[in-house]
């Protein structure tokens, strides 16, 4: 299980621009770092992050080895309907982690 801090507002007014924050606990191992014996620590990064608003993809981000450990993403979204906002991120092993929150727009 990956720890993550997810901040999605619970309520918004129609058309409001909301801020979504995602802080993922992850070492983001580059794959370029040698151990003391000279062998490389294998790459272990989050490869992509996706945001789905009621099933519709509204944001897709590719991450790369230059991104620091515990990546922190902030982005904005226009809230126009009450629905589920889900954040999904895929790790190096291909496992998809998911955090979803319901937003009420009224």
């Amino acid at each position: 299980m990956t720890d993550a801090l997810v901040n999605i507002p619970e309520t918004a007014t129609p058309g409001e621009i909301i801020e979504i924050k995602l802080l993922i606990s992850h070492p983001m191992e580059t794959g370029f770092r040698p151990r003391s014996d000279g062998s490389l620590v294998p790459r272990d990064i989050i490869t992509s992050v996706r945001c789905l608003y009621g099933g519709e993809t509204v944001l897709e981000v590719d991450l790369n080895p230059a991104i620091s450990a515990n990546p922190f993403l902030v982005f904005h979204l226009r809230a126009d309907r009450s629905d589920e906002i889900a954040l999904e991120w895929t790790d190096w092993g291909g496992v998809v982690h998911r955090e979803a929150r319901q937003i009420t727009v009224a």
Binding site: L5, L23, S25, P27
Partner: protein, 252 residues
């Protein structure tokens, strides 16, 4: 009358200046890094706190007890605790830091193995405990036994060490506020440990930070868990008495 007025003016002038010239390492950071620390949604130290919250409730060892089994809700029982550490433990006849206390609890009450220094789980628990003192003033342990630890810490702080033959005090007292290369030299108030250090890209204890300085002056760092670290921490926390705790702090 005039004389009294001058005296009053002198008090007015010197009052605020004398008030407190101590500065947390926080004050030397750029505004972006400060924001990172103050926004709990952006502070990576809060990930350790979140993990600590989970570990707090997990049983460990032969006794099948969790921290919560004895201490209950960490937010209540651990309030202000980290601000008093290092504290004297009469049974161990030694000063212990918060990590040392967690490990004493593990061996004495949980029947579990102590966690190694800088273990992520140990740092997570210490971060959770430290957070419960955030904003509270540092209040050093009044136990009279602590004074010998503090004087040993003071002695180590003033002692020249390593190939560069530098003491802690030569940077952190004599040149605090100046720069070492491009890095500002803080006054060495350990109010935010464990810290999330951007250079480390993970949480670390004061011991790890002290080791950084020890190898910086080209001396051979004491092994992890050495009494010397606890002595220095006891001395530094005495100097920081009254300053607000910041755990989990972010530092560059």
């Amino acid at each position: 009358m005039k004389r009294g007025g001058v005296a009053a003016l002198a008090v007015l002038l010197t009052g605020p200046a004398q008030a407190d010239e101590r500065r947390s390492g926080f004050d030397y950071m750029g505004p972006e890094t400060q924001l990172m620390q103050t926004d709990d949604m952006a502070n990576p130290g809060m990930l350790a706190v979140q993990a600590g919250m989970r570990l707090w409730q997990e049983t460990a060892g032969d006794a099948e007890r969790s921290c919560e089994s004895c201490h209950g809700d960490a937010e209540k029982s651990m309030r202000g605790v980290a601000a008093r550490y290092p504290a004297y433990d009469a049974t161990a006849q030694s000063a212990v830091d918060v990590a040392g206390r967690v490990n004493l609890c593990r061996t004495r009450h949980q029947g579990a193995e102590p966690l190694p220094q800088e273990d992520a789980d140990l740092l997570a628990l210490v971060s959770l405990i430290g957070l419960q003192s955030r904003g509270l003033p540092v209040m050093p342990d009044p136990d009279p036994q602590m004074s010998q630890w503090r004087s040993r810490g003071a002695d180590l702080f003033d002692r020249r060490m390593g190939q560069l033959n530098l003491s802690c005090a030569q940077c952190h007292d004599d040149n605090a506020g100046g720069h070492l290369g491009s890095a500002p030299i803080p006054q060495a108030h350990p109010t935010g440990y464990p810290i999330y250090r951007l250079e480390w890209q993970e949480m670390g204890s004061l011991q790890r930070r002290l080791r950084g300085c020890l190898s910086g002056v080209r001396s051979d760092p004491w092994p992890y868990g050495s009494d010397a670290y606890v002595a220095i921490e006891a001395y530094l926390m005495q100097r920081a008495a009254g300053m607000p705790m910041e755990t989990p702090a972010v530092r560059p």
